[in-house]
Each structure stands twice: as structure tokens, then as C-alpha cells.
Symmetry: D3
Subunit: 131 residues, 6 copies
């Protein structure tokens, strides 16, 4: 059903396998998500997307778990079904408990509500926020 | 410019002042944002919204700073100008450094990109994510 | 600032003036919004958009006020600043009181929240809704 | 498939059953939607969400049917599959006919179109809307 | 599952068949998509929507293939599953190759990312863009 | 107003200047947009974002003008004010005429409308699109 099909490891070129290998090593797993298999038909897209994700998602000023939860928050806001499913799994693997998930979703829900209230009520930005 | 105007503390009813006071005590500040002043024309909305925010944003399984950053992530995804301005300020007050902000935005940007790639490529959800 | 500029009545072609006249007659007003003046550079777009709006917004199974409020609800959900400003004015002209506006926004806020909760929690659609 | 599973009435705690009962009484129904069952794993979220919905959706300056239709309009704008299914059912139960639905969707479609035209054409807000 | 059901050609009124015929002639096909069959319950919506699409999608300053690809770009941005499926098919029929699709999606992904970076970083619009 | 301020060329580190120089050479211009100046506070974000944009936006199976127009289409759909302003300028520089812009916007508007109609009417995906 994926627009360009899914490229399985067995059918992948050396270039694509190199990316698959790096994904599995970095994420300490023995499988590759459908997302990567779908992008693999265009190796340039696969490589650039993976390199960016790898660069962005490692621990830095924010730890990996916090980053995974932000990914879930954005995916839930955009209501991307694939992304919600895969990133909820990633966040759990990184340590997100059910309580953390519920609190995360409570914030996501409230933020989506107050965003529209602020816009709908045409609230002018407070001067002190403009610095 | 706010649709129903802004209700300043000096002009507020006792009911509205009670909410304003609770906001200032809870947030340890001596001012009330335009957002609350805009909602105050409808005291029921003001009270319900504040009570929900107060319940949701306190430290729980997730600490307050993480919750504030999730709020920024959602507001940036939705591109709500007021909310980005006010919640960036709140997050900074809760301890978000410039480095944390930059990493947060990198995740937000990447997630908004991969959400569309997953949807646009019509990627089927992996079986293992369906549990 | 409008991308193709604004075409004022005095500078408009006969084709464009015909649409401006119909807008003013239909809406019982003596001015044309910037929105229509911005589209006027492309008369085909102006005419098609106005004809569709005119067809859709008149009283039918739903009255005009209800339709104007739905327009505000969508514009607030999408956070379109121009549209929130102009359609709030239209809705007020059609009879929307401050109380109606506040209740409308309360529903808009809540719906935007529960939409994300339903998606984020990956709630399966109840069988009885599938008919 | 729901992230935290669904809590059926039979397996629910007294706290959760109390909310389920109130939902069924208020909505004059003998079942609880999957949405509520999914939130029930976090009783605080369940209770707060239901209390807000109950407060917001009753007849006030706007009647219940109008509110249900606004909920459909927002859900369709956000394209939340679960919400479109459940709220279309609620709106029908509140009296929405097929003609009302078609007119509602016509407004939703048009508003989503003109929101992007206004933004894309960078239309400046008319002075008279800024009061 | 479609809210108002699907109206098959065999069951359609003369008014609806006239639109179906025009769709098939214009698109050089012998079938009508579910989208049109779903709108057909409200002939006014069906006719207006088709007339607008017909007017907009033909070759003009932009050729038909470019227009179909823009349609895919918008549908992917909004993550409308039905639209991504049907418009990807239309674009392929108009000449979109797999390479074009991959490049289109790369731009869509990047644009959705930089939109949020620009908004999240609260970047002020450069003076030279304001003309 | 930009959250981390804007880094002007004169105040930039060698690392940041290298990216600014590459932007100006690649785009054949003598200035750098506020967008890049805002990201420059985090050189890793600046570099990665520019490298991706540079890779994606050059002529390939799709020419540069088509890619710029897709960027405008996405930015208009998301209603990102900064992006609409800057990318409309880029598209014009790449050859987009007023007529092309108007036709582009007509498709963007229509697609945003039919996306919601397809979702709101809960249209099931045609079998032939599932291959």
C-alpha cells in the first residue's frame, strides 16, 4: 500500500543496506520500521532523513526520552496515525511509563485547546513577551 | 483587539479576581497574561480553563519543565503566535536554556517533516505497533 | 502587502465591479473586504469564490447565523488571523452575541483538545459508528 | 489498539464507574464510547475531560444541536477519523438531518478554502475589523 | 461507511448522472471515484464542487501535471488519507514518475519542517518581503 | 523578536559565516534571510537545515520553479506568515508569474476544501487506489 512499495533488507542495494545497518545499530534493534523501508526507494531521501533523525534524537541538552516524548506530542497534534503508533513504541522503549504518557497527552490536549482560544479570542501578545 | 476586550484586575468582578489571584499565587508572579484577561469576559470559561491548566501543568510523572517544553512543541507545531511567545517565556522561567530550546525545535521540525513523509508515502503501520 | 495588491472599486474593470456590486447588494453593505480586493487581480478566482460563498452561506436547512458561527469555528481551528477577524464581524452582524461567541469558542477549544486525545490514545472507532 | 487499552464497565474502579454512570445518565444512553474507555486508565484525565465536556455541551446561548454541529465542523477540519464518526452520530441524535449535514460540510469546505486564500494572498486585516 | 452513503451511477438521478458523465468525459475514464459518489446525495454540493475542480485543474499558466502534484503536496501536508491515495493516482496518470514523487515529497517534508522552525523561532519577516 | 535573536554576518563565527557564504553563492544573492540568521545561534541546526534545503531544492526530476511553488503551496496550507512571504519571493525570483501564483493558490484552496469534504463525509478509499 506504500506508494513506492517497501524495500526489504534482502532486496536492498548496498547503499540502502548501509543505512538499514546504521539504523539497527544506533537503535539497538534487529528490524527496520516500514517508514524507512518506504523511503528506501529513493536512497537520497532515506539517507538524508536518517542522518537528520540520528543527529537530532541523541542525548544532548535534552535526554533521549524527553525527545521521544516531544515526537509523540507533535505526532498526536498532527494526528499522524503511523507516527503515533511508532513513536509511542519508541518512547516506551526509551522509558516512558503509562503515567508519563497520560500526562504528556493531557498537556497535548490542553495546548491544542488553548492555542485555539488564544487565536479565536484574538489575544494581543503581551509586551513583555516581545523581547 | 481581543474579541471581547481584556478585563484588567481593577475592573474585574470578585469571581474573576479570585481566579486572577490563584493564577498569580500558583505561578509566583504579580501579573496576569492577556490570555486570561481575554477569557475573563466569560467567567465560566476563565475558571474552567485555569482549573484544567493548573491540574495538568504541575509536576507529576513528568516535571514542570518537561511539560512547559511540550506546550512549546505543540504551540510551534500549530504555529500559534501568542502561545509560542507566552509559553517560550514560561519554559524559560521553568529552566529551559537556549540549548534546550534549539534541541526542542529541532525535534519539532523533524517530527513535522517525518509525519508528512509517513502520510504522503502511505506507509502501513507495522504489525508490532498494533498491540 | 497583499501578494497581488488590492484592487479598489475605482480601479476595477467592469467584470470585477460586477462582482463587487453583487457582494455589496447580497451583504447589504457599502464596502468590499480586503479579501475580495486581493482576489480581484484574478477575476476568475474572484468570481468563482464569490459564487460559491453566496451559494453556501444563505439560509437553508441551517440559518445564516449558524453558518457564520461554523465559519468562525473553522477559522479559529485553523488560526487564520484575517478570517477570524472578518468572520467574527460577519457573525456579529448576523446576530451572534458575546455569550454565543464564548460558548462557540468553548466548543472549538474542547473539540480541538478531544480530537488530539482520541488520536493520541489511538482509540478504535466503535462498531456502531461504522454504519 | 488503544494505547492504554479500553477499560470496560465490568473492570472499572468505583471512581471510573461513577464517571461512566454520569455520562450515560447525561447522554441518556446505556453505553460508553471507546473514547471514554480509553481515557479511563488515567482517572484524573477521564474525570476532567468529562466534566469539561458536560459543562460546555449543554444548552446555553447556543442550543445542544448547534454545539454538536460545531463539534463536527472542528473534527472534520482537523480530519480526526474517530471524532468525525462519533460526533456525526451525536449530532444526528441531537436532530441533525442529512440536509443540515450537507450544508454544514459545505461551509466547512469553503471556510478551509478561503482561510488558505486569505493567508496565501497575504491579505491585510481591514481597519474596521480591528476594533 | 460514507456518512450519506455512496450513490452508484445505476441509482443516480438524471441531475447526478449528468455530473458523473461530465467527470468521466473530462477525465477520460469510465468510472467515478467514491468521493463524488459520497457528495452526490447533495446534488448542489456535487455540482458546485465538480465545476470548481474542472475550472481549476485544467492546463493554464500551470500545466495539469504541476497542478496534480500541488494537490498531492497539500493532501500530504494535511494528511488526508483518501486524498493522498486518489490524487497520487491522478498525478501518476498525468505523468508523475516515481522520481518526481520522491522529490515532491522531499519538498513537502522540508517545507513542513521549516514552517515550524520559522514560527517556533518567532522570526520577523524581512522588510524586503513586505512589498 | 526572534527567540534567540538574529546573528548578523558581522557578528557571526567562522562556522556560521561559511554557511551564510554558501547560501549566498547558491542562491546568487548578497543577503541572508532572517530565517537563517535566527537559526544561526545553534550552528548545528543552521548547517543541517541548509544542507537539506540545498540538497532538496535544486533541479532534478522536478525543476527549481516547480519546487519553489510546492513550497509556497505547503506554506499557504500551513498558513506560516514568514514562509509565505519569503517563499513567494523565492518563487517569483525563480520565474513564477502572477498568473501562475493565482492558479497555484486556486489549487491550494480547492485541495484544502476537498480534503475536508473527503474526511468529513468519511469516504472509503476506492479499491483501485490501494495498490
Amino acid at each position: 500500500m506504500a506508494t513506492l512499495g517497501l524495500i526489504e533488507y534482502a532486496d536492498a542495494s548496498a547503499e540502502v543496506r548501509a543505512v538499514y545497518d546504521d539504523i539497527m545499530v544506533t537503535r539497538k534493534t534487529d528490524r527496520v520500521n516500514n517508514f524507512w523501508k518506504a523511503l528506501a526507494r529513493d536512497p537520497a531521501t532515506l539517507r538524508r532523513t536518517w542522518e537528520s533523525v540520528k543527529q537530532i534524537m541523541g542525548t544532548g541538552a535534552l535526554d533521549a526520552l524527553t525527545k521521544e516524548m516531544i515526537y509523540v506530542a507533535v505526532s498526536a497534534t498532527n494526528q499522524c496515525a503511523y507516527c503515533i503508533a511508532s513513536h509511542t513504541a519508541s518512547a516506551r522503549k526509551a522509558g516512558m511509563t503509562d503515567s508519563m504518557f497520560a500526562e504528556l497527552m493531557a498537556v497535548v490536549g490542553m495546548a491544542n485547546e488553548t492555542n485555539r482560544l488564544a487565536s479565536g479570542y484574538q489575544v494581543e501578545i503581551d509586551e513583555q513577551f516581545k523581547t
